[in-house]
């Protein structure tokens, strides 16, 4: 396989913690790939393996056709990396750091740098210690996007950015993709992933639980249906594939497995439907389902932080299905 990133069965243990437990990840050349998972799922550990900062205990990882540990230096010429928590040298100015990074990678491009400084509204004369979190993040983003890297590895790159800058960031990712770069985007901001990513991988406790194109993932799951009817039909809650039924006067909210939609519509047909809204599940719903779903089945998950994870998105799911649809 000639993808930009191919990871299979990756394992890494830190003391008693199994950080990676057979993680798979495959990112095709030129795609923007979302890398999702709760805190502590192993996203950053995977990225550190890919950067050759740590060595995996088992499994394989290939990056742009090379071995991330052995070929670290030549590979890094072709990679740009933005960590989620950027620490800068306190007594170096942002401009000095950006220039240093460009020269470390080689082929600095001053024009592109100036353009990015302007778009991100970053003052390069401040010292590293004086930047706010968002501005530290911008320093790393400017350095990364100013490069002509083939592969951008972004580990929660927009934490601390305001919505305006988030928009600039999205523009930069799209430009990178348009010039043929591959992007691995680890993020908690699901709207960002939905807006940018072609494919996503969802990891949980060091393992990949779902991977594929966003549209495919949606098909595998449920549709949310809201209907206003003149008369609530009987037996809706007995219908196979219908979940989370809430009846409020003449308003019905429910979730339906996609292969039960036909039966559901038949049941609603004689109910005097005045309005009908159906929408595919948001990524957030997909995401939460994966985090919550195994709780019952997998007793080793006392700390799954599912509910407090994706609060940014606005479209909070009304109700969550109690079990996995798969």
């Amino acid at each position: 396989m000639d993808g930009a990133i191919t990871v299979a069965g990756l394992r890494k243990r830190f003391g008693r913690t199994q950080a990676l437990d057979g993680l798979d990840l495959s990112v095709g050349t030129g795609e923007v790939h979302g890398f999702l998972g709760p805190n502590g799922a192993g996203k950053s550990t995977t990225i550190r393996v890919l950067l050759g900062l740590i060595r995996a205990d088992g499994g394989s990882a290939t990056l742009l056709g090379g071995d991330p540990w052995r070929d670290a230096v030549p590979l890094h010429r072709r990679i740009a990396y933005v960590p989620g928590d950027v620490t800068l040298w306190r007594n170096l100015s942002g401009g000095e750091i950006i220039d240093l990074f460009a020269r470390l990678r080689g082929r600095p491009d001053d024009g592109r740098k100036r353009d990015l400084l302007e778009r991100f509204a970053l003052d390069p004369t401040k010292k590293g210690g004086a930047y706010s979190k968002g501005n530290r993040q911008k320093v790393a983003l400017v350095a990364a996007f100013a490069s002509d890297a083939e592969l951008l590895i972004l580990d929660e790159p927009t934490s601390g950015l305001d919505p305006l800058m988030e928009e600039v960031f999205r523009g930069c990712v799209r430009e990178a993709r348009d010039r043929g770069a591959t992007v691995l985007l680890s993020s908690h901001i699901l709207s960002e992933v939905e807006a940018l990513c072609d494919r996503v991988s969802i990891v949980r406790r060091g393992r990949t639980v779902e991977s594929g194109a966003l549209s495919d993932l949606r098909h595998l799951t449920r549709t949310a249906v809201t209907a206003e009817v003149t008369r609530v039909p009987d037996g809706l809650d007995g219908l196979p594939g219908v979940h989370d039924l809430v009846v409020d006067g003449d308003r019905i909210d429910l979730q339906a497995d996609n292969d039960s939609l036909d039966a559901l519509l038949h049941a609603l047909a004689g109910a005097g439907v005045r309005s009908l809204i159906s929408r595919p599940p948001t990524l957030e719903e997909l995401f939460l389902r994966h985090y919550e779903s195994e709780d019952g089945a997998a007793p080793e998950a006392p700390d799954t932080p599912a509910r407090d994870e994706p609060a940014q998105d606005g479209t909070a799911p009304a109700a969550l299905p109690p079990k996995a649809p798969r």
């Binding site: 590979l75 100015s93 220039d99 004369t125 010292k127």
Partner: protein, 544 residues
Amino acid sequence: MSAVAGTGTLTKLALRRDRLMIPGWLYALAASVVGSAASFRSLYGEQSQRADLARSMNASGPLRALYGPVYDWNSIGALTGWRMGVLGAALAGLMSILLVVRHTRDEEESGRQEMLTATAIDRRAPLTAALSAAATANAAIFVVIAAGMAVLGQALAGSVALGLQIAGGGLMFGAIAAVTAQVTESARLARGLAGAVLGAAFLLRGAGDAASADSGSAAVWASPLGWLEHLRPYDTGGESWWVLLPTAALTAAAVAAAYALAARRDSGAGLLPARPGPATGARWLNGPFALAWRLQRGAFYGWAFGLAVAGALYGSVTRSVGDLIGDNAQVNDIIERMGGHRGLTDSFLALTMGLLGIMASVFAVQSVLRLRAEENGLGAEAVLAHPVGRLRWAASHLALAVLGPAVLLAVAGALMGLIYGTAVSDIGGQLPRLTFAAVAQAPAVWVLAGLGTLLFGLLPRAVPGIWGLLGLFLALGQLGPVLRVPQPVMDLSPFTHLPGLPGGHSDRVLPLSATPYLWLLLVAAAAFAVGLAGLRRRDLTAGA
């Protein structure tokens, strides 16, 4: 809200974080003091032996500069006070500087303090907690040393005085560090400034003691450590308790100044407003080596200044060595024991070279520890995510650990040679001779840097232990000869293996042999190699 809200909790937090550091210092200090006393008892049990030691020491200005005058030789306690009183006060001062900055400016710089001050605590609580932690540590030092000396059968009043002398130095410099921590935004700089005050106090006292046999010179009185020197624990004529008054006054004034400054400034800010930096990187800032230099040059310049001052000072007192004591066999014997060789001037110069070597070692250790700091602070990750191999990254900082000390020693040696050479009208001879003698300390420094690298590669968490090793080597060099520490133990220190240059080509080690240097270089190279090999194989830690 109470003015002390949260202080108790923060103090407990500080003491919990220091649960290894404070006992470590306490043990090292108490063991040095009480151990010295025990050794003096077995080596100088007779009054006549003590009198001989005192006569020989006091006859030489330069030796007084290094060790202070022996003010009383009627008891083991007084000898211990002579040898360990001021040195102990300086070491307790160093401990307190590290403690106070660690709990004030370090916390602010890292942003951790912001979380704390957002809770229901008084704004002054972190400073109070840091000072309380330092006070606790110094109180423990006082109790252990006073009790230890009393248990050894020394007079109670003298034991209390010795304990107060050492703990008093600790409190005084802790208070000074509280001020420097308010002034600068950087913890590194705050430590450096307080350390510079400590070093200046130590050098001033030395210069004053060189000039006067009874510590009466103005230079001694100008140094806060000189005040404490005048306390004279176990002096037959009685301790001069009143010197504790100016000590306490300076401490109180510094504490008051620290609180006043803390009340006037914003959290996280220093006294000086932060200046903007350049919008673009200088052309030379183009790789890991340039970055390492950019990050370490401040410390390097600071140490260069310190070593230059030390070299000039020692160079200017050297001339009086021969004048004062002539060729006294007994003094020779003592100087032999102090680690020197024949030829009094050369012996003195060799002793000072050893001190310069230790000073250069501190910079070397700081440079090696910078690797670990970069790894923890994720600076390493940022550089290594670029096409920079681990070896090149490590080499960028290690280059400074290797070249830096050699340059520092050359600067100090050259100034010493210049000033001493001018005094004896032999610049052409002394300048190269003393420069070479100083740089000849470098291989021992490199062994220390190599051992630090070894730890960094194999046991990164244990890297701060290199300070302990430096402390051990310092103690062996400073106390070993007087206390007649067994040779195999002395041999643990790389500094023991250096021929005492200049003058090492006296008949004892004639001809000057390259063998010890080759061995030191071999050991250093092996340690660097193993450490770097370990670094290549291990995982980088993510933050700390």
